[in-house]
């Protein structure tokens, strides 16, 4: 299973390295979202800094949606038939696809945070703040990628996949958005108080989305 996951992961990242679709298309979209919100909220730096944690995570979630779409379109030439003919372990396939998306998303989320620092003038409380935001980015990206890969597989047979995936994805991403925003807000100095329980929510989400995908991927791929 881990070998299969490794094969899929390596394949997806190799294709990304060759085509650079996520890098030259998804990343600019995330950047555009930050800039557009900057426009919309006006030149007042104070407002932007206050809104920054939420904007960061809106940008990350929307770009994750596009990254999931891209991850699915990589498999178009093979289709569901071709994927099944590769005889990969379904759990491995899920893990590979999800980890490939999450590696891309972790990169994007770091750059989005960096963008917020430069564009909105966000500042971390101290060094641990930076570390906590990095940790949040990693956990959030994992949770989003797990659920994205799962829903991608679920909507494979559907003709209305382009609209279905966002409909399924966004409400489930809402708690991720909430938890990550709260942690980020704390370490960008917007709120005070403990963020530990938010970290708990984020970890619980990551684990439960991973578990459902791990177990649920196989029946989604098979047709009996």
């Amino acid at each position: 299973m881990f070998l299969d996951a490794w094969i899929v992961l390596k394949k997806d990242l190799l294709i990304e390295m060759r085509t650079r679709v996520v890098m030259v298309q998804v990343l600019p979209i995330a950047g555009a979202i930050l800039i557009i919100f900057g426009f919309a909220l006006g030149p007042d730096n104070q407002t932007l800094q206050k809104a920054a944690p939420g904007l960061i995570w809106i940008a990350i979630i929307l770009s994750c949606l596009i990254a999931v779409e891209r991850s699915l379109s990589i498999e178009y030439p093979l289709g569901r038939d071709g994927l099944r003919l590769l005889n990969l372990d379904p759990a491995g396939l899920f893990l590979g696809k999800a980890l490939a998306i999450s590696i891309e998303m972790i990169g994007i989320s770091f750059l989005v945070v960096f963008g917020s620092v430069t564009l909105y003038g966000s500042r971390f409380n101290h060094f641990t703040g930076l570390l906590m935001v990095v940790l949040t980015c990693i956990l959030g990206s994992l949770a989003l990628s797990f659920i994205g890969a799962l829903y991608g597989a679920m909507s494979l047979g559907s003709q209305i996949r382009e609209t279905l995936v966002p409909l399924l994805f966004l409400p489930v991403a809402a708690p991720v958005l909430l938890a990550s925003t709260e942690i980020t807000a704390k370490y960008l100095g917007m709120t005070t108080g403990s963020s530990l329980k938010w970290l708990g929510v984020l970890i619980a989400l990551t684990i439960s989305y991973f578990a459902i995908g791990f177990v649920g991927f196989e029946p989604l791929l098979e047709e009996r």
């Binding site: 070998l3 394949k11 060759r18 005889n87 047709e223």
Partner: protein
């Protein structure tokens, strides 16, 4: 001797449409069966059913003693299916594609798998297979999307040679390719037959395939309308 493939009254419904409407079919190792018939008659569906890719809605079907309904995943490791679309990623090289296709083949030992095909015997085998299919070395390191149609098809055959499965399901293997590619593919089919494989070929090009097939059957309206006697 039990049949390798045995289908009785098989109906397969996908999206509310009966792709197969009562197929009765039996075949044994060592045969090359040509499946002919007009477009949309169910040739591809029959192959996909045997490959465990579409569900069996009614009837009973066995491949190598395994029930099509319950063991479709195991069956998929026993058969090699070549669709009319190549089963390869455009942005990977031919060699990488082949490695992904065979990398998980169950006939390979774990050790070979773990060595990631870098220095192993498997890599030599794959290179030899490229040569066997008349593909020069540089083809193996070319992006798949940059290959010619005939080269793509030949590359698509390489996993079959490496995995050495005993049941080959070929969907239009001769469509839109040059004479050289056709010859190479035909000889690899015959070699597989010599090793005792069962090969089903769905094709429009009757004369070409009939030259190598041991028998021909006709499929129309989702079921088999005629089959002639074994020529050998």
């Amino acid at each position: 001797m039990p049949y390798t493939i045995s289908l009785k009254n098989v109906v397969s419904v996908v999206g509310g449409f009966p792709l197969l409407a009562g197929i009765n079919f039996e075949a044994s190792f060592g045969e090359i069966v040509l499946i002919s018939g007009p477009n949309g008659a169910g040739k591809t569906s029959l192959l996909r059913l045997i490959a465990g890719l579409i569900p069996m809605t009614q009837g009973s079907g066995y491949v190598n003693g395994l029930n099509l309904q319950e063991n479709s995943q195991e069956i998929r490791t026993l058969v090699s299916y070549v669709g009319h679309r190549p089963n390869m990623y455009d942005d990977l090289t031919a060699l990488e594609n082949v490695i992904i296709s065979v990398g998980n083949s169950h006939s390979l030992s774990l050790k070979v798998k773990l060595s990631r095909v870098k220095t192993s015997k498997l890599k030599e085998e794959i290179i030899a297979a490229f040569a066997l299919m008349g593909l020069p070395d540089r083809v193996s390191s070319t992006k798949f999307s940059r290959l010619s149609e005939g080269q793509k098809r030949r590359v698509n055959f390489i996993p079959l040679l490496i995995k050495d499965t005993k049941i080959w399901l070929l969907d239009e293997p001769h469509a839109s390719i040059d004479a050289l590619s056709r010859e190479i593919i035909d000889s690899s089919i015959l070699r597989a037959q010599e090793r005792g494989a069962l090969i089903l070929i769905a094709s429009h090009e009757l004369e070409h395939v009939q030259a190598i097939a041991t028998r021909t059957l006709n499929i129309q309206g989702g079921y088999i309308t005629s089959g002639d006697q074994d020529v050998s």
